[in-house]
């Protein structure tokens, strides 16, 4: 299949849908048993989705990022759900957060684009508010049967739209305006644009009913048998008593009852599989699988019932030996999310084993800019103590920098906002005797005294948590790592005087899953021999998967109680690791990581010693203008680090 372009035209969308599901359809028709047919469908569903790609240079409408925060706030308020908004295409939800496409098609028409985002978000929120996604087993079941799934989704979306329209007049307007929007068709939020070629008659009134909600009288007249079943289903859904919702029980039952009814009718008429609209995206299959696996594992039912999932896994094991399917599935299972499953060795294959993260390591997603989505749990960061060695190496650095250390101590002492008495106030807590006496003298002499004889105690102001992360990758070998050590010595002396909580970590990695976060001085650690020895004996080696480390640093800072958080990044080159993590991939992921950190209120600042060409550009892209310092001379690092910091807290 030709690589799809983005944004797709309605014709493209049409074609993609047919191609996408055509193969599944053929496989289903060729299947000899029902079970085989279901496997084929489920396999296609799990593995075969055409991703729409957002390639560089394509015109897009209002990017999600520009509306994400206000939109998330709004969704929280109108839905009453505690959800966040993140990126995925198509729109879906994992029942915790809502995922929306990173952009909508060009041209940018801000009001329309916002409307589109609002509607996409509220469809997802509706599924959550109505409790339609609570029963994971049921979801797995409907996902194995296209007719069932489509009918259910359509009815569910209709219900969702009704729910919000009844509750909020403004949302009623939004949903009413939706079918008029071309973009909605392209994004397939608007079902009228779903290709009708090959669509069985039984589905037509459903589509029409959804698009032309909420009044029945606007349904097209259709006296055929198929129509009447679909109509009955719609009416049943419309009659649902929403005043008792979110009752979280009735709605899913009525919906699935009606969807089953449609399926029966559909089978009876021997119609081929219908095209699948992804109107309601709803759940990413791997998330369903993940949750399901968890449930099933808990109940130790894997070896018993013939669940579709188990059959599927078996089928894959047989067919997929040597193929990529198992790998894909394994990745889809998101090890981080199954952490609590009791001994998964009992699962169908060992490769599905969950990896408990008892070692305190953490996994992070990675941003694939080219694809426009996150690669889930792509990296793992593990904390370990940095290497150690003789104390003399530390002592030597201190001896060589005596004068500098004294100077920095003085400078940092001046930065300190101490608790102190403020004199000369017109009102205060205590009387300042000296001033009071001179005021008395003034009064006695017949002068008007200056009313400034009070003093007041002022307490310390905002504390700041500072994390400094130091590049220990192989390229720092030689001069750079020594300057980094000096910088740490000077900076630590200053910070100790200042009394702000701080930590020093080194970073370097061997591939994405072995990112070593090397503790030089942890938050709680005091300055003792252990810390001195680590500072004096840093050792270079490994690569620079910077994005993962910045995410981890932001997390670490987030665990500190201080409201102001600063992250200082010392690095000597561009983000680079084996595989695709180089060039613009690494830069863009790191830029995204910095962006994420800033959203968590971390001030990120970088000092780079990269002498290579193009350093300015990628640093600006990652950290933003004015948020990095490119040193032309490595020797300046030790003195510049404290200076940059001073500039940040002043």
């Amino acid at each position: 299949m030709a690589a799809p372009t983005w944004p797709p035209t309605p014709q493209d969308a049409d074609k993609a849908t047919l191609e996408e599901y055509g193969e599944a359809a053929r496989a289903v028709l060729a299947a000899e048993t029902d079970e085989e047919a279901e496997h084929a469908l489920l396999a296609a569903f799990l593995m075969g989705r055409v991703k729409r790609q957002l390639t560089d240079g394509v015109d897009v409408g209002l990017p999600l990022e520009e509306v994400r925060r206000p939109l998330a706030g709004w969704v929280r308020m109108v839905s009453g759900l505690d959800v966040d908004i993140a990126v995925n295409d198509p729109a879906c939800t994992d029942t915790h957060d809502i995922y929306l496409p990173r952009a909508v098609p060009a041209p940018e028409t801000p009001e329309e684009d916002r409307l589109l985002y609002r509607c996409m978000a509220m469809v997802q929120a509706g599924f959550l508010a109505l409790g339609l996604l609570d029963d994971k087993r049921f979801l797995a079941e409907i996902h194995a049967d296209w007719v069932f799934r489509n009918a259910w989704h359509l009815l569910a979306t209709r219900l969702v739209v009704r729910l919000w329209s009844e509750r909020y007049p403004g949302l009623r307007k939004d949903f009413a305006a939706l079918p008029l929007l071309d973009k909605a068709g392209i994004m397939r939020v608007n079902l009228s644009e779903v290709p009708r070629r090959g669509m069985p008659g039984a589905f037509r009134p459903l589509y029409d009913g959804l698009v032309r909600f909420p009044t029945d009288d606007r349904l097209p007249p259709g006296p055929t048998a198929e129509d009447s079943v679909a109509r009955a289903a719609l009416v049943a859904v419309d009659r649902l008593d929403l005043s008792t919702l979110p009752g979280r029980k009735g709605a899913p039952l009525v919906l699935s009852g009606q969807a089953r009814r449609l399926r029966e009718e559909y089978r009876r008429l021997r119609l081929g599989p219908p095209p699948l609209p992804y109107v309601a995206g709803v759940l990413r299959p791997e998330w369903i699988l993940d949750d399901l696996a968890r449930d099933l594992a808990y109940e130790q039912e894997w070896k018993k019932g013939n669940t579709p999932l188990r059959s599927l896994l078996k089928a894959m094991q047989q067919k997929g030996a040597g193929g990529g399917i198992q790998d894909k599935l394994k990745r889809a299972m998101r090890p981080g999310r199954v952490a609590n499953v009791p001994d998964p060795a009992d699962l169908v294959t060992n490769e599905l084993q969950a990896r408990p993260e008892e070692d305190g390591s953490r996994q992070y997603d990675e941003w694939n800019a080219e694809r426009g989505h996150y690669v889930v749990a792509a990296t793992r960061v593990t904390e370990e103590p940095a290497g150690s060695g003789p104390i003399e190496s530390y002592q030597r650095i201190v001896d060589a920098n005596r004068a500098q250390i004294d100077r920095i101590r003085r400078q940092f002492a001046a930065l300190r906002v101490e608790e102190r008495w403020v004199h000369g106030l017109p009102d205060g807590t205590e009387i300042d005797l000296n001033r009071a006496v001179s005021a008395m003298a003034d009064i006695k002499a017949g002068h008007t005294p200056k009313v400034d004889w009070y003093v007041r105690f002022q307490r310390q102001r905002q504390q700041t948590a500072i994390l400094t992360m130091v590049d220990l990758s192989g390229s720092t070998q030689g001069g750079i790592i020594y300057r980094e050590q000096e910088a740490l010595v000077l900076f630590s002396e200053g910070l100790r005087v200042l009394g702000f909580p701080h930590a020093f970590y080194g970073f370097s990695n061997q591939g994405p899953m072995a990112c070593a976060w090397q503790r030089i001085k942890g938050w709680e650690e005091g300055y003792d021999e252990t810390v001195f020895k680590r500072i004096g004996n840093l050792r270079p080696g490994g690569a620079t998967r910077l994005g993962a480390f910045i995410r981890h640093a932001a997390w670490s800072l987030g665990s500190q109680p201080q409201q102001r958080r600063i992250l200082m990044v010392l690095s000597d080159g561009r983000p680079e690791d084996r595989g695709q993590y180089r060039g613009s991939y690494g830069v863009k992921d790191t830029a995204m990581a910095v962006h994420e950190a800033r959203r968590q209120d971390v001030h990120v600042h970088c000092i780079s010693m990269d002498a290579s060409e193009g350093a300015e550009e990628y640093l600006a892209e990652i950290f933003g203008k004015g948020r990095y310092l490119l040193l032309d001379d490595v020797d300046k690092l030790p003195t510049r680090l404290p200076e940059v910091f001073k500039g940040l807290v002043r």
């Binding site: 709004w74 109108v78 009453g80 609002r118 909020y168 007049p169 403004g170 949302l171 105690f457 409201q563």
Partner: protein
Amino acid sequence: MSALPYYRPTGNEIEVFETAARLKLPVLLKGPTGCGKSRFVRYMASKLSRPVITVACQEDLAAADLTGRFMLEGGETVWRDGPLTRGVREGAIVYLDEVVEARSDVMTVLHPLTDDRRVLPLDRTGEELAAPDSFLIVISYNPGYQSVTRELKESTRQRFVSLSFDYPDEAVETEIVAKESGCDAATAARLVEIGRATRKLKSHGLKEGASTRLLVYAGQLVTGGLPLRQACEATLVGSLTDDQEMTRSLRELLRSVLG
């Protein structure tokens, strides 16, 4: 007796307070801003026929501000009672609003008053005032706001009978807003709906959602002749945030609810 101020109880708080007052036990009111704590204290004081002295605490408030100090007046130093001392002498209800904001020595002054000694030692004058039976300390505290360093110390917390306040449920809040602002029930219901929605933004960009107080303000603006949307804009958007993105969310909310 003069008319009691309007207070709509939301639980058994009146009974608890009366009992505590009878037993001379100090009271701690917990809850977010504008949910009726001050109103409740005024109501109770009036019900129990006691004067009430309210002190709004802020971070520079020190013990001396409460107890009193020597002032220079016409060339002489004169002792002036602070509000707490005055309250002890008069047997009043002393209400310390947002007490954790105050400097820590304030707590030290309160301690002997809040256990069975019930005395106020005045170091500067060498006096030790015994509190009369009608004297009662009430403090308030908003657990949501404080940083870890501003939490109520255990030794303080455990000296008080606590009453937890929160924004009342939908029906009660609607009643309060209508009654306090004079707007009609439908408007009050709309305001409460919007107000409750904004509380979902707490710790997601807003420190607090709209308080009952703010909803009353909005209602008053409507009663005063302003269209509902403008009244909401001026209170529920403008007074809640300066942040552009939050403002946008709140505007969208108004649009969704009001159409």
